[in-house]
């Protein structure tokens, strides 16, 4: 075989290998996704056609000799043959022009295609598939799904391990940090954590039934530590909690429907509320994901976060 042809084949094979590497680099490869398939087909065609044609012409350099009738004129010594255009080229040129006109006039007449229409159809298909396959999953699978949402959407703020990246966002491996509890008591809270307007009063509205007075600085520190430690133990903090907070958050801190959220543990519901309304507090601002995630995804990521602090 001609050395050049051999090089051409080697080159094509190498590019096919690279294309294979790219495709397998993405989870699930072609995914039965028509766009992925066409993209790769285009890449493959590109290499094969170019190499085939170029090798063909280079063979002509190697094997044929120049001939034809020369034109009379010369420019700085450069002559021109009066050769006809290569037939293949002429046919292709004419062919593509006819194809173009056909496409324009008959194949896909002006305005008969709408990319938004195509999007809507595609979306409906994908959503239906998703509903059917995953709409009703629960338990461990739900947590797994939640983890996948977390890794795609949340890790840029909360970090790969949900540790909050050095206090830049909430550490979701624990229900709440002392700093946040303290901040909430000092400033109150109005983040619709219950899914509705139900603010928590600031310190000027927090009456300690044990002492018969408003909560003091020392008491705030104590109760914050107690809450951050998962409401375990029996020290001063526990007493203050019982006297000040339990009326709303419950004696065990597990919260009450429509009254106050749980301070003991995350629940998918609490997380969903945070996702729907965002949250602005001691650490910073958590954006709302109300429309970016669907309700199944919110439930799933809620299940995942709940599983973290268990």
């Amino acid at each position: 075989m001609n050395k050049l042809t051999l090089w051409g084949i080697v080159f094509v094979l190498a590019m096919l290998l690279f294309t294979y590497i790219s495709v397998s680099g993405s989870e699930g490869g072609l995914h039965g996704d028509i766009i992925n398939q066409l993209g790769v087909a285009g890449a493959v065609a590109l290499v094969i056609i170019t190499v085939y044609v170029v090798v063909g012409y280079v063979r002509q350099m190697q094997e044929k000799t120049a001939d034809g009738q020369l034109a009379d004129e010369q420019w700085d010594g450069i002559g021109e043959y009066l050769n006809e255009v290569p037939t293949g080229w002429a046919v292709m040129f004419l062919g593509t022009m006819i194809w173009g006109m056909w496409y324009w006039v008959a194949g896909y007449p002006v305005n008969s295609y709408s990319q938004i229409g195509e999007y809507n159809e595609d979306l409906a298909v994908q959503n239906a598939k998703y509903e059917a396959q995953y709409g009703s999953i629960t338990g461990d699978r739900l947590v797994e799904m939640g983890e996948s949402v977390f890794l795609a959407e949340c890790k840029v703020c909360h970090g790969l391990t949900a540790d909050g990246i050095d206090g830049k966002a909430a550490n979701l491996n624990q229900r709440i940090a002392a700093k946040s509890v303290k901040y909430t008591i000092l400033h109150g809270s109005n983040n619709e954590l219950l899914g509705m307007e139900m603010p928590m009063p600031d310190r000027n509205g927090l009456f300690n039934a044990n002492s018969g007075a408003l909560i003091t600085d020392a008491e705030i520190d104590a109760v914050a530590t107690y809450v951050a430690n998962g409401l375990s133990g029996t020290g001063a903090g526990a007493n203050i909690f019982a006297g000040t907070c339990a009326s709303c958050h419950g004696a065990d801190g597990a919260g009450m429907d429509m009254v106050a959220p749980s301070l003991k543990a995350f629940s998918p519901k609490l997380v969903t509320n945070v996702l729907n309304h965002g949250k602005k507090a001691a650490i910073g601002t958590m954006p709302s994901f109300a429309t970016k995630l669907n309700s199944k995804q919110k439930e799933a990521v809620g299940a995942y976060i709940t599983s973290l602090s268990k």
Partner: protein
Amino acid sequence: MFHWLEKNPFFFAVGVFVTIAFAGLVEILPNFAEQSRPVIGTKPYSTLELAGRHVYIKNSCNACHSQLVRPFKSETDRYGHYSLSGEYAYDRPFLWGSKRTGPDLMRVGNYRTTDWHENHMKSPASVVPNSIMPGYAWLFTNVADIDTAYAEQLTVAQFFSVPYNQPVPMKDGSTAVVKMGSSVADANALALAEAKVIVADMRDQDVKDAVASGKIPEIVALIAYLNSLK
């Protein structure tokens, strides 16, 4: 005929020009008016946001970031609703970009926040490990050019009737008014008021001090702009 043209440079040039100019007319002129009509909910940029947009352009963020959400499920999942032509009615220049070394920012205001931007712009890898985005520390000390932003507001209001100080319709049926100062001093005061809102959510003490003393660092303007991308 072609041989004749090749001997007559003037007509040759005219021939080339007509051949190439023709396409431009057909391609660009139709739909020109319709493309620039704002959709409901699109507001002109405020003074500080526009100054932030200038910071974005000055640093060529568009070299790595697009602002165009294409109608694919994978993109609407990642970035939000696909882009509509009318959303860009006040974008001069457009900032669609042509390379996504970083993610699209068309709607970044929906899912990132002031404090996150502050951390991220100072040192991207500190919040996103292995990020290849450069840090933009100098934005925290350079002072934003509010005057030029104001001049641009005046120019677009005068030449293109951009509706400043006029009610524009919002999605919920209400109207909003974007204010434009009546003088340079007034415009600077408006921008400072906006800056104070942003800086309240920031941590950097030097930036806070600067705004308190009436200067607006570029980062504050940039964040105002990023937050406006929704």
